[in-house]
């Protein structure tokens, strides 16, 4: 039922690349010409060594003395080769950049879309940050590798291959000398890389711990201050910073050491090449120019082995990042939109039926058991019950944030699973307790309910809900910036915005889940009365702690331990002994009803215009 997004660790590298390419077809487009260009580009690296060899053997040491003409002709040819290979290099790199970034943008957007398709439960169990990183840093890592490490990798492998071929043409013995000098290092790259990536793994972990520690004096400023725990907080921060510093320095030490080995091998190779080359020269197997060309060719090995561990590390984190993105894409969206096969709900009040619905959260006990409930179109129903009785589950099943394990939820006789998402979302609106706001103006947030609404529509909506005064009282009105997550507004005001938004969406079925819990009682009652008017001719289902809501509903449904234990109008339920009467008694006591009174000469009925 509920799925968690896997880390993708079980996916093998080759499989990751295969699926990654399938998700971003752009990456494969024109890959063969790009690789051919890469081959030409790398050939540019051996122009200089060959030119040096030619100059020495045929220019300086020519049979008839120094041959300037030969060197000039050869030089021009070589310059041409530098230009041609340079153009090839340009084409290769820019093509690689273009195709990689296109492919990765596609992947990023696909993954983003898919996160929104995931079941609410999955969205809630995943840490938000971890979902965000799958469409940001994980994709960036793949991008970094493809356009930096990837180019480096292609060039390095090409360079070593081309250099080896040229070397073999000159002398297989000296080629062997060079490979013996670099072989052990090439073979141990994997080992160094493992060491390094372990060291950097520790660094990354410590970055997380450090960031969490340094955020405390900012996000928890008031608590730190009011409990005077500055020293304790600073001590925690200092420790986290130090651990991070030590871990980074250690990793840096490893990198420096492994990097230095490339030059060491280069020195060995040069010494070997010259000495053995001279000895071979006595036998007439090789010319002086060829020996010296080797010294230039050896430099082509140094770069790749120096960067080898870095390339491997980048490759590893790119594969890991790619895996994590693919894992998101391959997490089933089990609330799939039926699409064309589905039906649209007709507009107008909706009747609701729960047909033998059972639901349990994964690994938990059942929260709803065999619930059978019909709500006639156009009625107002309140669902009440103690914390944990399963009230909110009703709301989530109704709005298809989750699907029942058994049974079905029917709207106008149609299983919600068969209703097209567009239709469902425009007909059924849920106002949750925490109405999330985007960091934008009040206007933009309210219009999220209906994208084409005008300012006038917004004001009319506010007036209809009795919120006109509140809106007018805001210094910047509809232009008020609500801040991140709406934090510039109070919790109560955020709920007002969410209500306005829902009202503007003009649903046929409105589901309120503790939607006014944070506004002050007087305002809550005002809104309640306003909503009552507005919901005439529509269906509404309200879930609330405050039983005042229940008193005005057409019908009250009492839930206990996942079952409906009582239902009927408020007055009837109150009259009979049972759970509702008990709930109500405790609610009344809580309100201190004994103290209720008011100035006798004043009219307490304060209708809001």
């Amino acid at each position: 039922m509920s799925t968690t997004v896997s880390s993708g660790d079980d996916l093998r590298a080759i499989e990751t690349i295969r699926r990654g390419l399938a998700h971003s077809p752009e990456l494969r487009t024109g890959l063969v010409p790009t690789l051919l260009l890469a081959l030409v580009a790398t050939a540019g690296q051996v122009v200089v060594p060959i030119a040096v060899q030619q100059t020495l053997d045929h220019g300086l040491d020519a049979p008839g003395g120094v041959d300037v003409d030969y060197v000039l002709r050869m030089g021009l040819l070589a310059a041409l080769a530098v230009l041609v290979t340079g153009v090839a290099s340009y084409l290769m790199t820019s093509r690689l950049f273009r195709q990689s970034e296109r492919g990765l943008a596609t992947l990023r957007i696909k993954a983003f879309r898919h996160v929104h398709e995931l079941p609410v439960l999955t969205q809630n169990t995943e840490r938000r940050g971890s979902l965000v990183s799958r469409v940001t840093s994980d994709v960036d890592q793949v991008s970094q590798f493809l356009v930096f490490g990837g180019i480096l990798f292609i060039v390095s492998v090409g360079q070593i291959l081309v250099a080896t071929v040229i070397m073999l043409v000159y002398s297989w013995q000296l080629t062997l000398v060079v490979w013996v000098s670099f072989g052990p290092l090439l073979l141990s790259l994997r080992y160094f890389q493992r060491k390094l990536s372990a060291a950097y793994g520790v660094v990354r972990q410590q970055v997380g711990a450090m960031l969490s520690a340094i955020s405390e004096p900012v996000v928890g400023a008031e608590v730190v201050r009011s409990y005077a725990v500055q020293e304790r907080t600073q001590a925690k921060i200092d420790t986290a910073i130090d651990i991070y510093k030590v871990a980074s320095t250690r990793a840096q030490g490893f990198t420096a050491f492994s990097f230095s080995l490339g030059g060491l091998s280069g020195g060995l190779a040069n010494a070997g090449v010259l000495v053995i080359g001279i000895l071979l020269g006595f036998a007439g197997d090789i010319t002086a120019g060829e020996v010296l060309a080797f010294a230039f060719l050896v430099t082509l090995f140094v770069g790749p082995v120096q960067m080898g561990t870095q390339i491997l590390t980048d490759a590893q984190s790119a594969i890991a990042g790619w895996r994590r993105v693919i894992a998101v894409l391959e997490t089933p969206a089990d609330l799939a939109d039926p699409g064309d096969a589905g039906v649209d709900l007709p507009r107008g009040p909706i009747d609701v039926r729960f047909a033998d619905v059972s639901y349990r959260y994964p690994g938990g006990p059942p929260v709803l058991r065999d619930v059978d409930l019909t709500v006639a179109a156009g009625t107002r129903v309140a669902i009440v019950g103690e914390t944990g009785s399963g009230k909110s589950t009703f709301a989530k099943l109704l709005t298809r944030l989750m699907d029942p394990d058994t049974g079905a939820v029917l709207l106008d006789g149609v299983d919600v699973r068969r209703v097209r998402s567009r239709s469902l979302r425009s007909s059924v609106v849920l106002v949750p307790q925490e109405g999330f706001l985007f960091d934008d103006t009040l206007r933009a947030n309210v219009r999220y309910g209906r994208l084409d609404a005008s300012d006038r529509d917004l004001r009319e909506s506010a007036a209809a809900l009795g919120l006109g005064d509140w809106l007018d009282g805001l210094p910047h009105g509809l232009d008020t910036r609500v801040g991140q997550r709406g934090e510039s507004l109070s919790a109560g005001e955020r709920q007002l915005v969410a209500l306005l938004r829902a009202h503007l969406a003009d649903p046929d079925l409105l589901v309120l889940d503790e939607a006014t819990s944070a506004v002050d009682p007087r305002l809550e009652m005002r809104i309640g009365r306003a909503l009552e008017e507005l919901m005439r001719g529509r269906t509404s289902i309200t879930i609330a702690h405050r039983l005042s809501t229940a008193e005005n509903a057409d019908e009250v449904v009492v839930v206990d331990a996942g079952r409906i234990v009582q239902r009927g109008p408020h007055a009837d339920l109150l009259a009979e002994p049972g759970p509702y009467a008990a709930l109500h008694a405790s609610w009344v006591a809580q309100q201190g009803a004994g103290l209720r009174s008011g100035p006798p000469d004043e009219e307490p009925r304060d209708r809001v215009s």
Partner: protein
């Protein structure tokens, strides 16, 4: 013309500022800098030496051997010793350079992070309120990192300059004419490099910014996932995200094209230089003006020195980011705002006596905004209790912040046991008062640490506080009880559970004044009434100031203050106010009135 000049000046000043930032680092870590620079110079010198060794070997070993068909073994051993020796010393140089640069960079970062967070702890809440959370977090992290970014390529760049000087000297010494041909290459590489940096660095900056924006959209959109889903706005959200992602993609593709153009230029320039040296060199050898080994040495030098020259570009390329980061960090460190503390210690009171709180003519406003509180005066007698009742945004939370001295009044005084809170020594007020706010902030720590916050309290005391807060049940059910880690901001708990832990945190200190700012709003009413019952049963030694809506909470108090638009509009017993004030009655009776109406 004028704008070009202005831009030139700006660039020059960015360069100067960049060097100024580096100077700060060098002054603070002179020894590490010295070691890494010496390492780098060593590396540079020995890279040049390598070319010299090759030239020497050509002249004394390769050419004589091929010419004469024989060579002494001593010369061959010398070749081996020179190449291997140079390689080993150069490897040492690399380690010193890279490790030194790393150590210097990490030390500077750690130092600034400590300073910045120390400052955050010291700056008053009013300052915090003026600065967005995200900005403060990035000041302590990304900006610190950016400020010291140039340290990584610094020793390499210094070493490269040294290497270039040595290389040029050696080339001139070897053959002045060939050197002149080769020397055209170095400036050309430097210029190409600078042009490359200038073209690509604005794009890289833009890409960085776009990455942050892409991430912001994802963050916000996923956080609002429920709203997106319930309103069926997936398409619109995806379009919003796609637009930014495409913008990022386009910038990266453009940056890629620039790099694609400059890579072959930077690699090709030295190659062309070598070809020129070969051509001119051969001609000079023909006339007897030069020898073969000089041609080899200078060619090799051009090949090995050209690449490191790029590090100068890397260094200068980091400057703009570094200067901005450094300024942002400085702006925190230079903030002069602070909370002045006095030296007064609260007079020792007999244990179990509540604190006496007096507010006298208190006014508060944020700069240039409407006043939030005006002329507020009241007293909570020792052991007494006062409820503050008022509509949303009437100034209740501001009042509690003043009492806990999170902010200071613009006029008037807040006194505890007769002492102005501004005269109390640091930490003194917190010994007497515990504030529980509307939103419970929990640390990424265990339940025990979150409640004790370093105070010396036994587990029994913690459990007792949890019992009073009605939190013992769910804490006992957590996988590791008090040792359960709560994760960032207590994400694993419900709102009501977080509030109960925050309440226990206040109670465990046995505060002499407990300030509750709607601290049980997310707790359901029955649990809340049990909490209040427990508070009432335990509370003679604690004075209480409580912000509340619910009547049961209000009924706890001896006196009720009715706050409206920042003023105390009425005060007295709950029943008294009900009988007297229509506005008050409307506010607290809302539910029952509804019953009458409905």
């Amino acid at each position: 013309m004028a704008t070009t000049a202005a831009m030139g000046r700006e660039r020059a000043s960015a360069m100067r500022d960049g060097f100024a930032v580096l100077a700060v680092a060098i002054r603070r870590e002179p020894w590490v800098f010295a070691v890494s620079t010496i390492g780098s110079v060593l590396f540079g010198a020995l890279t040049v030496a390598d070319a010299w060794v090759l030239g020497w070997s050509t002249e004394h070993a390769v050419i004589p051997a091929f010419r004469d068909g024989e060579i002494g073994s001593g010369v061959l051993w010398a070749v081996v010793a020179l190449f291997v020796g140079v390689a080993i010393v150069r490897a040492v140089g690399i380690v010193a350079r890279r490790l030194g640069a790393g150590i210097m960079q990490y030390r500077m970062q750690a130092h600034d992070r400590r300073e910045v967070t120390r400052k955050y702890l010291d700056l008053p809440i009013a300052w915090h309120q003026r600065h967005p959370t995200g900005q403060l977090l990035s000041n302590a992290n990304a900006d610190v990192e950016a400020a010291w970014g140039p340290i990584a390529p610094l020793p390499m760049a210094v070493g490269t300059v040294a290497m270039m000087v040595i290389a040029v000297a050696q080339m001139l010494f070897t053959d002045a004419v060939l050197a002149a041909v080769g020397l055209l290459v170095f400036p050309a590489v430097v210029v190409a490099n600078l042009v490359f940096q200038r073209l690509s660095s604005p794009l890289m900056t833009r890409a960085q910014q776009l990455r942050a924006e892409v991430s912001e959209i994802a963050h916000e959109s996923f956080e609002g996932a429920l709203v997106v889903k319930t309103l069926g706005r997936e398409e619109e959200e995806t379009a919003r995200f796609a637009a930014k992602s495409h913008e990022l993609r386009d910038v990266l593709v453009r940056a890629g094209r620039i790099r694609a153009a400059f890579d072959p230029i930077l690699a090709g320039l030295p190659s062309l230089g070598v070809l020129a040296v070969l051509a001119v060199g051969v001609a000079r050898v023909e006339t007897g003006a030069s020898v073969a080994s000089s041609v080899v040495t200078i060619s090799y030098l051009l090949t090995v020195v050209a690449f490191p020259i790029r590090s100068i570009g890397w260094l200068l390329g980091e400057f703009p980011r570094s200067v901005v980061g450094f300024r942002r960090v400085r702006s925190v460190l230079d903030a002069i705002d602070h909370t002045p503390y006095g030296a007064t210690v609260l007079p020792a009171a007999s244990p179990g006596t509540g604190l006496r709180l007096e507010l006298d003519g208190v006014r508060f406003r944020y700069a240039d905004e409407q006043p939030l509180l005006e002329e507020v005066s009241f007293t909570v007698p020792a052991g007494g209790s006062v409820a503050v009742v008022g509509e949303t945004a009437s100034g209740k939370t501001t009042l509690t912040a003043l009492v806990a001295r999170l902010i200071d009044p613009a006029a008037g005084t807040v006194r505890v046991d007769g002492v102005d809170v501004r005269e109390l020594a640091a930490g003194e007020l917190a010994r007497g008062i515990s504030l529980v706010g509307q939103t419970a902030f929990l640390f990424d720590d265990t339940v025990r640490d979150n409640i004790a916050l370093g105070a010396e309290v036994s587990d029994e005391q913690i459990w007792e506080a949890l019992r009073t807060a009605q939190g013992d049940g769910f804490v006992a059910a957590l996988p590791d009880g008090l040792d359960t880690r709560l994760g960032e901001r207590g994400a694993s708990l419900s709102g009501g559970q977080r509030q109960r832990i925050a309440l226990a945190r206040a109670l465990v200190r046995r505060p002499r004044l407990l300030v509750l700012d709607d601290a049980t709003s997310a707790v359901d009413p029955e649990v809340e009434s049990r909490i209040l019952g427990a508070l009432r049963a335990g509370g003679a030694g604690t004075s209480l100031l409580v912000v509340a809506y619910r009547k049961a909470t209000i009924a706890l108090a001896d006196e009720v203050l009715h706050l409206a638009d920042g003023r105390v509009v009425d005060r007295g017993g709950h029943a008294e106010l009900l009988a007297r004030s229509r506005r008050y009655a409307d506010l607290v009776n809302a539910y029952e009135q509804e019953e009458v109406v409905g």
